[in-house]
Amino acid sequence: MDLSVLWFLLLAVLWTGYLVLEGFDFGVGMLLKPFARNENERRMLLRTVGPIWDGNEVWLLTAGGATFAAFPEWYATMFSGFYLALLLILVALIVRICAFEWRQKIDDPIWRNRWDWAHTFGAWIPSVLWGVAFANLVQGMQIEIIDGNHQLTGGFFSLITPFTLLGGVTTAALFLTHGAVFLALKTDGEVRVRAGLLAQRLSIGSLLVAAVWAVWAQLAFSSNVFSWVPLVIAALSLVGVVIAARARREGWAFALNAVAIAAAVALIFSIMYPNVMPSSLNPDWSLTIAGASSSKATLQVMSVIALVMVPIVLAYQGWTLWVFRARLTGAQIGSATGLHPFRERSFENVDR
């Protein structure tokens, strides 16, 4: 197999890692306001992803860095072409990180509430925009060749079409389901019951939206008969999520939803193949795997490093999930731990 094709597959793996793992982080973040009924439940929601969200997010940085290393043309064309969309995603990710880490530092309801709104924004925006971005990679963009370089000249609004918007709705629905199923898997007591009920409803919605989008993608944009395979797998696993959610089999529901997200990435990449950025203006202007890739030496170096490191990363991230495998109950969450914003501990009057 050609190394650049191997890297095309590896990038699909990295994006799968990102969307499967951050998918439930985003889902939990999106549910923070509508699902949790009180402070204790909000803390519980945050605590389910607390130890792992940061490691999950690194999959995005790795996908970005790997695109830069293996397909510099793709990296340059996509990120300069998706400029404003990416700006929005970055702002969302930034405030979400701070909302995670700083929310509990100050014991004040107004402070916490503001960070929760920031978190909501930081979870919804990327959940929708990643779908829009990937739908563009399926649909094709206004790519031209200027001075021998591929350039995306359409700007932000060329990226918004009915198909790509539906793509954004699809990822948001998948992540919401993913988050609800994850909560049902990680909590106990009343929250678990409610999350299970919510997952039941959401899984039906995400099945419908995803089915419409995937069939549309296949019929309108795929010239590749093999992309039916991931499409069927995705459809079957989404049906499986609906069944498992009804039966309250939380582990199965979570695993099948992860498979569905992975199959969706496989569908997107198999429709794109052999392009990485198809041009909607002229098929000859599409950026191909071969045209976008690095030199052979770089791909060889990167292959060795990736094939050594990715299993190691998977091993210790898996171990982390295992360490924090216990379900959470409301009683364990305890009371707030932050400081009062201004009233400091009276220092002089404390006796030793």
Binding site: G50, L60, M78, L84, I94, T298, Y316
Partner: protein, 495 residues
């Protein structure tokens, strides 16, 4: 303003901002790991308190460091797509390796450390913070490999078919990862980070020593804050010596690899032997040397920084005027006869001096601290407390000015030509690297948004750090309030 200027301003702003947070994380993670180790080894409550106290500060800082770092990963493609096309074959690899080797490690094990106090065996839990410390240092190595390559490209060949710089075979990556520029920049950066964190720990602990003694809590000062201050002071002394040694090595390399940066450090227009080092210069802000008057010059010092000789023919230092004519002659075919090859002399001159000068605050704090806290003493002197607070921000500023000097000193190049391979075509002007499809208003929009967002988050970061520093430590750690089997950390590091 054109897209080029805006993109340069934007990259400068977000990178300087990122690097306010980075050195504290790189230096503080190992210092917290040392405190945690001392707790595990001695079982003494004081080290647990210090681990908790500085651990919280580390986490407050780490969050914003991660948040601002994310932008950097995508910034190259967004604003500098033509640069990314030209160098991606080489430049992308260290970035990807950084994520695979370092980012995963630090983020995963930091989560384990924060939430693992009651889930992990003591020693495994301690290993987590050491892995975080290792990850932060390793990430610095790989990202500096990328930056050092821009300053001094090695392991690269120019491919005339694609018009790109490409890796010179598989062994090219070893050249990139053992670049002489990198081997000097990496220890310098790490030493600086330890100096920043050492000053941070010593300054905060010193301030608390004075505060505790004044409040009549001499025991707390003696038993808890003084040992912590000592860890900071020792880190400062070791780091300070390392900063000077590695800085000197970098000067010698710069003389060989980037002579115009060396000349710009002293705003030296004419080539000369025994170039002096002036402490102040008064003049206008143009790159015109005739308008400036130098004051308080140390004879031959600039020559010594670059060549190791104060005087004589070996101390010859080319000036920017000669280097400018040389470059114009050499690149006339490619960039026309009028291209300017001189960095902004005012910025390089002053950032170089401020970088060195601001280090003095740490030196004074270290000497004062070591003297006042000798042989188990504590102090209640008000001037020491003020010195502690005054010294806190200075190494941060010094680190920023050092980077401003390094990056502004390579202008107009974004990939500086390597003088050892003068014909290999691996160089790029900054103006050639900017994205061509991104209109200026887009860059302006993102610059305004990032600047305002960062300013707001920076204010919160400062508020939180100050609030947590002023809270101090609890007079006594309450015995674990947990019920058996209750999986909530004794250390309230949870969200």
């Amino acid at each position: 303003m054109e897209a080029l200027d805006l993109a340069r301003w934007q990259f400068g702003i977000i990178t300087v901002y990122h690097f306010i947070l980075v050195p504290l994380t790189i230096g503080l993670a190992p210092l917290v790991a040392i405190m945690h180790t001392l707790w595990v080894r001695t079982g003494s409550e004081r080290w647990l308190k210090m681990t908790k106290f500085f651990g919280k500060l580390l986490l407050i800082n780490f969050a914003l460091g991660v948040a601002t770092g994310i932008v950097q990963e995508f910034q190259f493609g967004m604003n500098w797509s033509e640069y990314s096309r030209f160098v991606g074959d080489i430049f992308g690899a260290p970035l990807a390796i950084e994520a695979l080797v370092a980012f995963f490690l630090e983020s995963t094990f930091l989560g384990l450390w924060i939430f693992g106090w009651d889930r992990l065996p003591k020693k495994v839990h301690l290993a987590c913070i050491w892995l975080v410390a290792f990850g932060t240092t390793a990430s610095a190595y790989f990202i500096l490999a990328a930056n050092s390559w821009m300053q001094h490209p090695v392991g690269a060949v120019f491919n005339p078919e694609t018009g790109r710089a490409e890796l010179d075979g598989v062994q090219g990556i070893f050249a990139v990862l053992t670049n002489s520029t990198l081997l000097a920049a990496f220890p310098h950066t790490i030493a600086t980070s330890w100096l920043v964190a050492g000053t941070f720990v010593a300054g905060i602990s010193g301030w608390w020593i004075v505060r505790s003694v004044k409040a009549g809590r001499t025991e707390e000062a003696r038993l808890t804050w003084r040992p912590a201050a000592y860890i900071g002071l020792v880190a400062m002394v070791i780091a300070g010596i390392a900063v000077i040694g590695t800085g000197d090595a970098q000067g010698k390399l710069m003389y060989e690899q980037q002579p115009s940066k060396m000349a710009a450090a002293e705003a030296q227009c004419e080539s000369t032997e025994a170039a002096p080092f002036s402490l102040l210069t008064i003049g206008d802000l143009s790159n015109n040397c005739d308008s400036s008057t130098r004051l308080l010059s140390v004879p031959g010092l600039t020559s010594f920084l670059g060549t190791g000789h104060f005087s004589g023919p070996e101390s010859f230092l080319p000036g920017v005027n000669d280097l400018q004519s040389e470059a114009q002659a050499r690149f006339a075919d490619q960039f026309g006869p009028d291209q300017d090859y001189t960095p902004n002399l005012m910025v390089t001159y002053w950032s170089f001096r401020l970088m060195i000068g601001l280090g003095v605050f740490s030196a004074v704090l270290a000497l004062a601290g070591l003297w006042l806290l000798r042989k188990g003493r504590v102090t209640d002197s008000v001037w020491f407390s003020r010195l502690c607070l005054l010294a806190l921000p200075m190494p941060f500023l010094a680190a920023s000015f050092g980077w401003i000097f390094t990056e502004m000193g390579r202008q107009p190049w974004v990939v500086a030509p390597n003088p050892a391979n003068p014909v290999d075509n691996v160089y790029l002007l900054t103006q050639q690297g900017v994205s061509t499809v991104v209109p200026a208003w887009s860059v302006l929009t993102s610059m305004v948004i990032f600047t305002l967002l960062y300013a707001a988050l920076g204010a919160v970061w400062f508020f939180l750090l100050r609030r947590y520093v002023r809270e101090g430590i609890e007079p006594e750690v309450p015995t674990s309030e947990q019920l058996p089997g209750q999986p909530e950390p004794t250390l309230s590091f949870a969200y």
